[in-house]
Symmetry: C2
DNA sequence: GTGAAAGCGCTAACAA
DNA sequence: TTGTTAGCGCTTTCAC
């Protein structure tokens, strides 16, 4: 069923049909009667214009490419949900790519999406390279979560420094002095900023000598093994700061296995809240990222870029959710 | 950068260029020298054919529509991950739609995807209606998770009856007699089969009179409120069977709030395993669905359908993961 | 071995 | 108020 057949059926030109169907009847002063007939017939034969042809002609696909490092990570799944919803509301569809935290897959995905002529790109990059996101990319790009400083690639993300500083200060206020930080993927901005936030807080409280950083990626296994390693050290930390939700899970697993009681023997705080945190025992204190905000702002930004407007990067403030995995300890200098 | 420009640059026809670039040089006996030159130039100018034009010409988009009720539910996020990976491996991309468990959005999504000429549809339907998935759908469709019996729509799903029967029997073997089931969305096949599995197990053990079914959808809030309601009844159940992961979370929340100790005062088992279940306190006994299998088999099936082969629906067996949320209770008839 | 030209289904500039 | 026609960028039939 094409517009041509529809036009033949109606005994009029494809032009007229097209104009009615694209809502331009007013503009071309098409008689209400004609318009009515077109709509009825289209409805009756339930004709839907071939979007591929349309896209080719219009040089516009109403499609946005979304590249995410791991859709099974609830953080990104949530992001994807908001983004999809926001885009749908604005008449766009989403081509989804999961890069599996692999820069090469990410680069390939960008190519694939560009050759499919997406109108824009929303990317939560792995974070190791950026050239493929900037050079020869003819469409607007907005980065999510991870980004690149000084690269003029617009982004929207959580204020990681702020969040980490807050989490660490919170622990310090509770009397903790030996706080270890288990980091995610090194070299990526959120990780570096979280680490810096942690370090700053430690330094500002005169605890520079106690700064302890372990770990290497955003996985549960990393949390698990880093925790075990930390527990094996001569001076066991009294608190752990896990830099994402999966690391925190690994920490809990290790602590459980080693029969460390949280928070009595060791406190735990996570960057990145998840709904089930409140159900864990003990419930997990966490830094909650403004997920909805990130998705919404990113889509907004992308639209502004598509309208050739200028945009400024955005850092959204996270908040601390106090639960039971952090206990005060008696002060001892 | 179009193939035309590339051809001009090379001083040959677009035909030849196209033939080389689509790997048909052998077929048309194009000289190796020419082919070489084409590839080099294409590479150098890093030319990538406009897929939209290609799709239009070929009447094929290498795109699959994936409709899912809620991508933020880890069950579906996992499914999406496997599906995306499998499809990428086979050279297809994924257009993602989140129906938010709303049949109307689902119907619209099908229309949108069809007008974009996807080559196939992978749908985890809300489960209330099926007409929009069968009538006038010109492309192959495979259903995930939820499906429709006797509707000739191929599906791949977990054997829900089997899993629920197993979970219930497990509780009965542990001595439980008053087992309540908190169900998900009524009217959907997995839910009905899980309920039937539960009922069958109860009946086969002579516990028909104790069958208790509460709840109405797959949400945490449903688990929460249904549990509270069950606890308020004169005869409190000794075990709860939650029909999905989110319901189970709601149960835990309610039990925690009411200071019911799991498993000492009440046992809990969930249909649908999640990685964090082992970290909950107590760790949660669950029926684990073969997620990877579902995704892979579904994609395979879709490809067979695209090759005009016949396929048979598949039910994959889940397995029971024993943890600490179920305790035996002394037998009393 | 290579090329000219038609055509995929649609929209819009130009014409009437 | 409506229609003719060119063309989006590609592939492929037919011709040489």
């Amino acid at each position: 069923m094409t517009i041509k057949e529809l036009a033949r059926e109606l005994e009029m030109s494809t032009t007229t049909v097209s104009r009615v169907l694209t809502g331009q009847e007013k503009k071309y002063r098409i008689s209400e009667k004609t318009a009515q007939r077109v709509r009825e017939m289209a409805n009756q034969l339930d004709f839907a214009p071939n979007q591929i042809a349309r896209n080719l002609r219009l040089q516009k696909t109403n499609t946005i490419g979304l590249i995410i490092p791991d859709i099974s990570n609830p953080f990104f799944a949530n992001l994807a949900r908001t983004v999809e919803e926001e885009l749908r509301r604005r008449g766009k569809m989403v081509l989804l790519c999961d890069s599996k935290d692999d820069t090469q897959i990410e680069e390939e995905s960008v190519q694939l999406l560009l050759s499919r002529k997406v109108d824009g790109l929303l990317v939560a990059p792995v974070g190791e390279k950026w050239e493929h996101l900037q050079k020869k990319v003819a469409v607007p790009v907005v980065l999510l979560d991870r980004y690149f400083e000084h690269k003029d690639l617009p982004y929207v993300t959580t204020d990681s420094f702020f969040g980490a500083y807050k989490a660490t200060s919170f622990l310090i206020e509770k009397g903790h002095r030996h706080i270890a930080c288990i980091q995610g993927l090194t070299g990526t901005t959120p990780n570096e900023h979280r680490v810096k936030g942690y370090e700053s807080a430690m330094q500002n409280h005169g605890l520079s000598q106690n700064i302890t950083i372990a770990g290497s990626d955003y996985s549960m296994i990393n949390g698990y093994e880093s925790t075990k390693e930390l527990l094996a050290r001569p001076e066991t930390p009294t608190a752990l700061f896990a830099l994402n939700n999966q690391i925190a899970m690994g920490c809990m697993k290790a602590l459980k296995e080693y029969d460390f009681s949280i928070p009595d023997e060791i406190s735990l705080i996570a960057f990145d809240e998840q709904p089930y945190f409140e159900l864990l025992s003990p419930s997990l204190t966490a830094i909650k990222q403004p997920m909805e905000g990130i998705g919404k702002v990113a889509v907004e930004m992308l639209f502004e870029l598509m309208d050739e407007k200028k945009v400024a990067p955005q850092m959204l403030k996270p908040m601390l959710i106090e639960r039971d995995s952090v206990a005060p300890i008696p002060q001892k200098s």
